[in-house]
C-alpha cells in the first residue's frame, strides 16, 4: 500500500507544484520539494514485500522501483533548488509527475498500464517546460511546430507500443496462440515484426537517429533542468518496460537470429556513432547534453538485439546509471549557463577555474559518465556491445561508445584554460563562496540569521548551485560504480 501512497504523493505534488507555480513560483517549487522529500522517505521505508492488488492487476514493488524512486526524488529535490537559482519555473512539477508515472509503469504487472501511464506522464514532461518557459530564441511558429512534433512523438510511441502489446496478448499473438502456431514460420515473422515495432516505439520516444529532430529541437529550446525528466529518466522507464515485454513476449530466440538482429544493431550503432560525433562537434551545451543522452539510449537499444538475461540486466544498469550522470550533466549545463550568461563552449574558457566546485562536480560527472574498467557502468557498456556484436565489430562499436571521453574532456579542457570570453565578464564577486567562518559563535540571534538567509542565498548563489550539481554528480558516481538497483 505504501507504493500507492508514493505514487499519489508524487502525482499530487507534481500537479500541485505546476498549478501553484503558475501563481507563486517559489511556493510551487516548495510544494514540489516537500513532495519529493515525502516520496524519498516513503521509498526508503517501504517494506520489501509491498504490493497492491487492484482488481485483476496490481503494482509490485521491486528493488529497481525502489531505487529509481529514491534516486529520482533526490534528483527532483536538487533540480527544484537549482530551478529557484536559475530562475525557471517549469521543472519540479513535471519531474514529480514523471516520477509518479515511472514508478507506476515499472511496478505495474501488465504492460498496457505501463505504456499508457508513461504516455500520460511524458506528455506533461515534454509540453509543460516547452510551452511554459522554454523554447525561446525561436519564432512562435517554430516553437509551436517543435511542441507539436514532440507531443506527436510521445503519442506515436505510446500508440505503437500499445498496439504491439495488444497483438502479443491477442488470440493470434505469442501469448494467446496455440503451441502449434508458435512453431510456424509465419509466427516467427510476426514475432520479428513485433520486436521491430517495439524498437521503433523506443526509437521514437528516445529520439534515436534518424528520428532525433524533435528531441534535438526540444533540448536546445528548454532549460537543461527540464531534460532529465523528459528524456534521461523518461526514456529509461520506457526502455525498461519495453525490454521486460520483449523478454516475456518475444524471447531471445527471435532476437538473435535473422534480419531483426541486424536492423536493431544498425539503428543502435547509428545513434552511438552519430550521437557521439554530434556531441563532439556542437559548440553549445544543450546539444552536447542532448546528443549524449541520445547516444546512451542507442547503446541501451543493443539489448533488444539479444534480449537475453545478461543483456537486459546490463541495460538496466546502464540506463539507470547513465540517466543519473546525465541529470548531473544537465544540472551542470543549467548552472553554467546561468552563471556566465553564455551557453557556447567557445565563450566559456576558464569556467572551472572561476568556480572550482562546479569544476569538481563536472570531474565527478565525467568519471560517472565514462566509468572505469571494473565499475558497473563500464562493465554494462561492454556487456551490451559484445553481447550484440562479438569480436572486432564489437570492439569498433565499443570505441565509438567511448566518445564521451572526447566531448566531456573538451568541456573540461575549456574549463581549465585561461579565463576568457563570457567568463571574464562576470565579476568575481558574483561567483564567490562563503569565506572561512570567524572563530567563536556568531553574535547574531537565530531570528537574525533566519532573516538574512535569503540574502545570503542570493549572495552565494553560485556556490550553492555548484553544491547542488556536486550532489547530483555524487549520486551519479555511486550508481556508476555500484550498478543496478534491482
Amino acid at each position: 500500500m505504501t507504493l500507492l501512497v508514493v505514487i499519489a504523493v508524487a502525482g499530487a505534488g507534481g500537479v500541485g507544484a505546476m498549478l501553484i507555480g503558475r501563481i507563486r513560483r517559489g511556493i510551487g517549487t516548495a510544494v514540489g520539494v516537500v513532495a519529493a522529500i515525502v516520496v524519498l522517505a516513503l521509498a526508503i521505508a517501504m517494506p520489501a514485500e509491498d504490493s497492491v492488488q487492484i482488481g485483476s492487476s496490481g503494482l509490485l514493488l521491486t528493488e529497481l522501483v525502489r531505487g529509481i524512486a529514491v534516486v529520482w526524488s533526490v534528483s527532483v529535490m536538487v533540480l527544484a533548488l537549482l530551478e529557484l537559482g536559475t530562475g525557471t519555473s517549469t521543472v519540479t512539477g513535471p519531474a514529480l509527475l514523471a516520477l509518479a508515472v515511472a514508478v507506476t509503469a515499472l511496478a505495474a504487472t501488465d504492460p498496457f498500464t505501463s505504456f499508457a501511464a508513461l504516455g500520460a506522464g511524458s506528455m506533461a514532461a515534454i509540453v509543460v517546460p516547452g510551452a511554459g518557459a522554454g523554447l525561446t530564441g525561436s519564432s512562435p511558429s517554430v516553437r509551436l511546430a517543435t511542441l507539436a512534433r514532440g507531443s506527436f512523438a510521445v503519442i506515436g510511441s505510446t500508440i505503437l507500443a500499445i498496439v504491439v502489446v495488444a497483438w502479443g496478448a491477442s488470440a493470434i499473438g505469442p501469448i494467446g496462440a496455440s503451441p502449434f502456431a508458435l512453431a510456424g514460420e509465419g509466427m516467427r515473422l510476426a514475432l520479428g515484426l513485433g520486436l521491430l515495432t517495439m524498437v521503433g516505439a523506443v526509437a521514437l520516444r528516445s529520439g534515436l537517429i534518424p528520428l532525433h529532430v524533435w528531441a534535438a529541437r526540444f533540448m536546445e529550446g528548454v532549460t537543461p533542468l527540464a531534460v532529465p525528466a523528459a528524456f534521461a529518466w523518461g526514456t529509461t522507464a520506457f526502455v525498461l518496460v519495453a525490454l521486460a515485454w520483449g523478454q516475456v513476449t518475444i524471447g531471445e530466440t527471435i532476437a538473435v537470429g535473422g534480419i531483426e538482429h541486424i536492423l536493431i544493431i544498425g539503428l543502435a550503432v547509428t545513434s552511438i556513432a552519430f550521437g557521439g560525433l554530434a556531441a563532439m562537434i556542437h559548440d553549445d551545451l544543450e546539444h552536447v547534453l542532448g546528443y549524449s543522452i541520445l547516444q546512451d539510449a542507442g547503446l541501451a537499444t543493443l539489448a533488444f538485439a539479444t534480449l537475453n538475461t545478461d543483456a537486459v540486466a546490463a541495460a538496466r544498469t546502464w540506463l539507470v546509471a547513465s540517466a543519473a550522470s546525465k541529470t548531473a550533466l544537465a544540472a551542470w549545463a543549467a548552472v553554467t549557463r546561468t552563471l556566465f550568461l553564455e551557453h557556447r563552449l567557445a565563450e566559456l574558457s576558464g569556467w572551472a577555474r572561476r568556480v572550482p566546485i562546479l569544476g569538481l562536480a563536472f570531474a565527478i560527472t565525467w568519471l560517472a559518465a565514462v566509468g572505469l574498467p571494473g565499475t558497473a557502468l563500464f562493465d554494462a557498456r561492454t556487456t551490451l556491445v559484445f553481447g550484440a556484436m562479438p569480436g572486432l565489430p564489437g570492439l569498433v562499436v565499443l570505441v565509438l561508445a567511448l566518445t564521451p571521453i572526447g566531448y566531456l574532456s573538451r568541456v573540461a579542457i575549456t574549463g581549465l584554460a585561461s579565463p576568457g570570453g563570457a567568463v571574464v565578464l562576470v565579476p568575481r564577486a558574483a561567483l564567490r563562496g562563503p569565506g572561512a567562518r570567524p572563530s567563536g559563535w556568531s553574535p547574531r540571534s537565530l531570528v537574525e540569521l533566519a532573516r538574512s538567509a535569503p540574502s545570503s542565498a542570493r549572495e552565494y548563489r553560485a556556490f550553492l548551485m555548484s553544491l547542488g550539481v556536486l550532489t547530483l554528480a555524487a549520486v551519479a558516481m555511486v550508481l556508476s560504480v555500484a550498478g543496478q538497483l534491482g
Binding site: 487492484i54 505495474a108 500520460a120 506528455m123 509540453v127 530564441g137 512562435p140 516553437r143 500508440i159 488470440a171
Partner: protein
C-alpha cells in the same frame, strides 16, 4: 444486446464525424463528447460502474479541454462531413474485416501462419462487441489520423489527437480483451493528458503574435545567447 451495441457503434461513428467536420466548435465538442462517452459502452459485458465512470468522466473532461482551448469562432474544416462520413464508414468496414480475420485465424489451427487453410471459422460473429469495437476503432482512425498527423494546431487537431487515443483503446479492447482496472485509470489519464496537450497547442496557435513575442522576450532573460 446486438441492437444496443450497434446503436452504440452508430453513436461513436456519428460523434467522430461531427467532431472532425463541424465548422462550429461547440458542435464539434459535442460530437467529440458523444464519441468518447459512447466508446466505453462497446463492451460485452460492460465494465464495472467505477471503471465506466472513469472513462466517461475522462472523455467529458477531454472534450471540455478541447472546447475551451480556443475562442468560439468557425474553423476551416477539411473535406466536409459527407467525405468524413464516407471515410468513417470505410474505416468501420476495415475494422470489421480485421476483427473477422483475427477471429478466424484464432479459430483456425495455425491459420494464417504457414500451416495452410484450416476448418471454416463458423463461430465468428461480425456483430459481436469485439467486432463492433474494431469497427469503431477503424472509423475513428480513418477520420482522425490525417488531421492528427498533418493538421495545423487547433481544436480540430486536438479533437483528432483524442480520437486517435480512443481508437487505439477500442482496437486494444477488440483484439486483446477488456482492459484491467489499473489500465483503465491509466487510459483515462492518457486521454486527459492528450486533450490537455491539444489544448496547449491550440492556445499557442491562436495566441496573438505580440503575446508570443512578449512571452519570448520575458523568458529570454534566462536563455542568453
Amino acid at each position: 444486446m446486438t441492437a444496443v451495441l450497434v446503436g452504440v457503434f452508430v453513436a461513436v461513428w456519428l460523434g467522430a464525424v461531427i467532431a472532425v467536420s463541424a465548422r462550429d466548435q461547440s458542435t464539434a465538442a459535442i460530437g467529440l463528447a458523444i464519441a468518447l462517452v459512447a466508446a466505453p459502452l462497446l463492451a460485452d459485458p460492460l465494465p464495472s460502474p467505477a471503471l465506466l465512470g472513469s472513462l466517461i468522466v475522462a472523455g467529458l473532461l477531454a472534450a471540455a479541454l478541447v472546447r475551451t482551448s480556443a475562442p468560439a469562432r468557425p474553423e476551416a474544416v477539411g473535406a466536409g462531413w459527407p467525405a468524413e462520413a464516407l471515410l468513417a464508414t470505410g474505416g468501420a468496414f476495415a475494422g470489421l474485416g480485421v476483427s473477422y480475420g483475427l477471429a478466424a485465424a484464432a479459430l483456425t489451427v495455425g491459420g494464417g501462419f504457414g500451416f495452410g487453410p484450416g476448418p471454416e471459422p463458423a463461430g465468428v460473429s461480425l456483430l459481436s462487441a469485439a467486432g463492433l469495437a474494431a469497427a469503431a476503432a477503424g472509423s475513428l482512425l480513418a477520420v482522425a489520423l490525417a488531421p492528427a498527423i498533418t493538421g495545423r494546431a487547433g481544436p480540430r487537431h486536438a479533437a483528432a489527437l483524442v480520437l486517435l487515443v480512443e481508437a487505439v483503446l477500442l482496437l486494444r479492447t477488440a483484439i486483446a480483451g477488456a482492459a484491467v482496472e489499473l489500465e483503465v485509470v491509466a487510459w483515462a489519464a492518457l486521454m486527459v493528458a492528450v486533450a490537455a496537450v491539444g489544448s496547449v497547442l491550440t492556445r499557442l496557435a491562436v495566441a496573438p503574435a505580440e503575446d508570443s513575442a512578449a512571452a519570448g522576450a520575458a523568458v529570454g532573460a534566462h536563455r542568453p545567447g
